[in-house]
Amino acid sequence: MRIIVVGNGMVGYKFCEKLVAKKIPGIQISVFGEEQYPAYDRVHLSSFFEGKDITGLELASPSWYRENGIDLHLGDPVQAINRSAKLVHTFKGFVKHYDILVMATGSSAFVPRIEGVEKEGVFLYRTIEDLYLIQSYAAKVKTGTVIGGGLLGLEAAKALIDLGISNPHVIEFAPRLMPRQLDEVASEMLLTTLTGLGLTIHTNTNTSGILGKNQITGLQFADGSSLQTDMLIISAGIRPRGELAVECGLETGMNGGVVVNNFMQTTDPSIYAIGECALYNEMIYGLVAPGYEMAEVLVTHLYNMMVKPPLPAREFTGFDMSTRLKLVGTDVASFGDPFADGENVRNIVLKDSVKGIYKRINVSADGKYLLGGILIGDATQYNLLLQTCKNKILLPPHPEDVILPAREGKKEEGAGVTTLPDDALICSCEGVSKLSICQSVTDKGCETVDAIKKCTKAGTGCGGCLPMVKDLMVYTMKQQGKYIRNVLCEHFDYSRQELLDLVKLHELKTYDAVLNQLGKGDGCEVCKPAVSSIIASLWNEMILKKGNDTSQDSNDRFLANIQKGGTYSVVPRIPGGEITPEKLITIGKVAQKYGLYTKITGGQRIDMFGAHLGDLPFIWSELIVAGFESGHAYGKALRTVKSCVGSTWCRFGLQDSVSYAIRVEERYRGLRAPHKIKSAVSGCIRECAEAQSKDFGIIATEKGWNLYVCGNGGSKPQHALLLAADIDSETCIKYIDRFLMFYIRTADPLTRTATWLNKMEGGIDYLRNVVVNDSLGMAAQWEVEMQSLVDAYQCEWKAAIENPEIRKRFSHFVNAPDEKDPTVQFEPLRDQKKVANWK
């Protein structure tokens, strides 16, 4: 039996893959593809512009087709179908007989009728070929525009930015962006965010013509206005490629889709259609997941035609069109019925116009079920909400909790992975259920996400489900009583916590000693900084001591942050943000002398940028003479303890927050930890020092201090939680000692305190028990250990400039120590300078 597949796109390929896996005896498969390349991942097409080459996008290599007996013809489109003789005629002149014909011809970009679309510089956005053309054209021009403000159009606009067109325009006919997925408020929010990213968006705009002689020079709009542009990408929707079907008389829809039934069968029983060319129930499914489902339905159907006993029948009954977009710079998702409204629906909306967050969920009137929703700005809950919606899982008593950030002390209330039913579809691209993921862990011994990906294919499509896959894996392993080992890298079979205990037990003090005794191989850029940080946390010795210098992360190795262009920044410590006029003058003079750009940082101190490697020791010598110390801005170490002016000047101040901030900063300066640590002290609850966003924050009360812990700014901001209230200064220090030691001992590498707490079973209550009530009986030991670290402190910059061996490393050329890197280039900026952009 010969099966011919027309089209070697994503769905055509998936059909082949699923079909050969069924090992049906006696079938021969031929594939004709119009494009020159074997099927590739169109969904991630844009990553081409981020440097991925096309073999990286390939779904299977040409040898895969050979090995599976598939005869693959590329660059050879089918031009006609002779249904009565069951023959296809191809461009290269083949005439081939089929028993079963599968059309997987996808769709093409829809080109609206605008005068001048044929001009040079006008492109579509669908194939690798399109991208090559766009890429070479964009290299020659400065401005670019996209017609179409939908999913694809916005992606194309982002691609233009990647290609160096700094301010692309997007023209949308409708009054808002992504009208099919988003409501008005959501579109508005998205528009603001995208404008911030550098896009100029014109809604309600109808393009009437393309200006220019042979080449495009601009767009003419119906309202009489115009826009100058050097190139244009048209992304105004898709049209199913049903031209072959029309010609051979199959039933097609208005815009060309090939009409199919529940088994993907067209009006000719020997011909099937799947993917974006198939019209099911008057609907074209323009996403890859439904296409894959169609492929599965058809493979099952063909199997049951040819093999006994049959598999359970499978029918296509429509598909959920929920999507989460991979728009760069913001999260956008919509699921279920995003627009559900009316008497029987409760709409719950959360909107934060400053953060650009909008969340809308539509809930049944009785508050029990989730009908759909929209997420902008933060779509972390997308997967769970989608599952809750699709599986009709009961919502918690206060349904709004599912979109609210977790409240103080409480775990997230929404449905966790554990509450999902076994048949919940976790990976919709590949159709993998919760049960099969759990079984891959229990029955097939998969214990890494990669193993599960290989075994079940979950997460190999858009990748959006990977966090859930990981949660399921961890959950299943825990249920089996398995201890989940979070090992460092291929050189160490230990978690950071285990390694720290061992390094301490064996009193190891160099990276090599740790590697020799506890690891294998020669180390790498993952374990070197992690082990170096452990050694520093345990012994607080000078980090550049011989033998440990080259195992430091680059910034630690040169005691400064490396910047674009390869120069460094210099950040002296300014405890509590308090500084004398004399010191300010020193900073000014040093910056002047070495030609540095200066800026007040967000951490209440002053950063000097653009220092050549060779200048660093000289700069620091001058700073140290003036009484400055290293600010550890480069280290996974204590950064700043910010303060507000406090009771010494402020009419509301309850305590002297500046003095206390200085005390705290001087106590923990130089302390190395799994990640950087920040703190702040506010003189009253007005909180001008923003203490509640810090790893530990202190706020004055009438009676003393409130101590908050595990806050975070950064990309996932989180408020700190109250650990202890109304404590005196000594108790507060004691608690911070314990808290920091506990963190240093148990956190994974590069985990801030907020993330550490989020993973801690029992949360803040457990942490409070350990720190305040000493439930582990470690408090006394930790306080002693902290004191010895405090006593061992020395300014590492001072140590570095005094040691000729270390100092020698601060030159760019080993064989020309006095020469600076000639490739470093600056450009003027306002009254200072900046580094030249990277190429």
Partner: protein, 124 residues
């Protein structure tokens, strides 16, 4: 004494870069050769020397000499300090993502001096 990359051609010139003790153990330094920059690494743990271009192809930064060396499945590699893209020290191939490969040079050590082999066409 070690010498890698036997492919060095007859016409190669051996350029005296520095002395052994000038190079950080298990680390790198940058060598000036005319207008070019070469990163030289002393993988002390394996007693091996490597040399590559100093420029990281990712963002064209003169930085590889300041990166961290290590191995991936026994293959010696260098991680760029900027975004930690890694490259094989032996073949120059990019081991993370799809940056293009970096140039590598043979190295020999004689009487405490480190020499880098520059092919005629290697460095302009």
């Amino acid at each position: 004494m070690t010498q890698q990359k036997e492919t060095a051609l007859e016409s190669d010139r051996w350029f005296a870069a520095c002395r052994v003790e000038d190079v950080a153990e298990n680390g790198g330094v940058c060598v000036k050769y005319g207008d070019s920059q070469i990163a030289l690494f002393y993988f002390t743990r394996r007693n091996e020397w490597y040399a590559t271009q100093n420029e990281c192809p990712h963002k064209k930064q003169m930085a590889l000499s300041r990166g961290m060396i290590g191995t991936k499945n026994e293959e010696p590699k260098i991680a760029c300090p900027f975004h930690k893209k890694t490259f094989s020290l032996v073949t120059g191939e990019c081991l993370s993502g799809d940056e293009c490969a970096i140039k590598t040079y043979p190295v020999k050590v004689e009487n405490g001096r480190v020499y880098i082999g520059i092919g005629q066409n290697d460095v302009s």
